[in-house]
């Protein structure tokens, strides 16, 4: 039986739909932290949302989440990973749409807005998983610009934004910008001992 991080649920009680939450994870606990974030949003707050997957293929995330008892049917996945793999987009899940590449940041934005327009839930979130995965493909300045736009776009639309990153794998400039833009921090990242 998986033990969820209930501290995250307590912290999420403090945020509003205009909040932007930076979620710092480590390389080994990201699935648990993300699951512990999604669970209260879906179950307690009855929200729906969009999950932008840049670190893992969406079918794998769905399988992992469903495996630990999280119902992903109210989440629309935007998968930026699978198109890079021949045959990767052959999925039976109706709630996945595929983006050609993680460099198509504007397409991610527009697809997310499209799904939010179609969302039946009154309150929604957008989770970006993850900044460090996007930084593999995108220039630091463009990524910082995207995150700035990302936060402000959803804040203006009353959509809670959640931005996952592994701090020691995220460019310093991007990380500094996240600290500046985000209203809240869930810190479950690795502590570097030098």
């Amino acid at each position: 039986m998986i033990e969820f991080d209930t501290g995250i649920a307590e912290q999420l009680l403090e945020v509003t739909t205009t909040s932007s939450v930076q979620i710092r994870v480590g390389t080994s606990n990201s699935n648990l932290v993300i699951a512990s974030t999604l669970l209260p949003l879906l179950q307690d707050f009855e929200m729906g949302g969009v999950y932008i997957s840049a670190s893992q293929a969406a079918p794998d995330i769905i399988e992992t989440m469903n495996g630990i008892g999280i119902d992903t049917s109210r989440i629309q996945f935007i998968d930026c990973v699978s198109s890079g793999i021949i045959g990767g987009t052959e999925s039976d899940h109706p709630n996945i749409s595929f983006i050609d590449s993680p460099i198509m940041l504007e397409s991610m934005m527009l697809r997310t807005l499209y799904w939010l327009e179609s969302a039946p839930q009154a309150q929604n979130f957008v989770i970006l998983d993850s900044v460090n995965a996007l930084s593999i493909y995108n220039d630091e300045r463009m990524l910082a610009e995207y995150l700035h736009t990302f936060i402000n776009t959803y804040r203006a639309r009353d959509v809670l934004s959640l931005i996952v990153n592994v701090p020691d794998q995220t460019p310093a400039g991007v990380l500094a910008n996240l600290d500046l833009y985000c209203s809240d921090l869930v810190d479950r990242g690795q502590i570097l001992i030098s």
């Binding site: 050609d100 198509m104 504007e106």
Partner: protein, 241 residues
């Protein structure tokens, strides 16, 4: 108001009533969808709209737009969306020939304006004006045709989009219009194309000119969704990669 997601904000209110706008774009850039959505949104507000199809049969066009969530076949049945084949129009006018002269151009302009007048059309799309203009042998005649058509439609209070196909290469001017004369005559120019970023093509829209508006001149990323065109500002650091 065009009713197209984001475009009215870019235009700071929409296309001024009675304007003739050139929508120039490369293949696959979303020109036809933009034009059809402009008409559908008008029809949903009770406006009579006309689509003149010069590149594909109207039946095929209707079949293609059925996939979009914004399309409603009832609008066609109610007579709010009227689709015409240019080839059929040319046959009616006895213009089954490879090139048009001034009289032919006058006859085409009159036929279109008669339709607009009879039905009370307030939104019109010609897709594409380029394929029509290919039959017009020189720039002066093309200029005459566009000027007369734009003026007549404007007088009738009809807002029009003339779709133009352009190539991705060439001079700045040839990237905006197929014949180099359209942009000077018409009230507005909306450019559609692709930005290449690390081997991927991202669609964009840019309003070059729109008389009577304080429009944005920035590039906007464009996505074709089941709900139609969606636009968001293109990332500044991502335009020239």
């Amino acid at each position: 108001m065009t009713g197209i997601n984001g475009l009215d904000e870019i235009l700071r209110g929409g296309i001024p009533y009675g304007s003739a706008v050139l929508v120039a774009g490369t293949c696959g850039s979303g020109k036809t969808t933009l034009g059809v959505e402009f008409l559908i949104n008008g029809a949903k507000m009770g406006e009579a709209c006309a689509h003149f199809s010069a590149t594909e049969p109207s039946v095929k066009l209707l079949e293609n737009v059925r996939q979009y969530g914004f399309f409603d076949m009832d609008l066609v049945d109610q007579g709010l969306i009227n689709v015409f084949d240019m080839d059929v129009l040319f046959s009616w006018l006895g213009l089954d020939k490879s090139t048009f002269d001034l009289d032919d151009i006058d006859a085409i302009v009159k036929a279109i304006t008669d339709i607009v007048n009879t039905i009370g059309v307030t939104r019109l799309v010609i897709d594409s004006a380029t394929s029509l203009c290919y039959k017009i042998p020189n720039e002066q005649l093309i200029r005459d045709f566009l000027f007369k058509l734009g003026k007549q439609l404007s007088t009738l209070g009809c807002t029009s989009m003339l779709i133009a196909e352009i190539t991705a290469t060439g001079t700045a001017s040839s990237k905006r219009s197929a014949f180099g004369v359209e942009e000077a005559i018409l009230d507005g120019i909306v450019l559609l194309g692709d930005v290449e970023r690390m081997g991927h093509l991202l669609r964009y829209l840019q309003v070059i000119k729109m008389r009577g508006t304080d429009h944005s001149r920035a590039k906007y990323a464009l996505e074709l969704t089941p709900n139609g065109v969606m636009l968001t500002p293109m990332l500044k650091w991502g335009v020239n990669i």
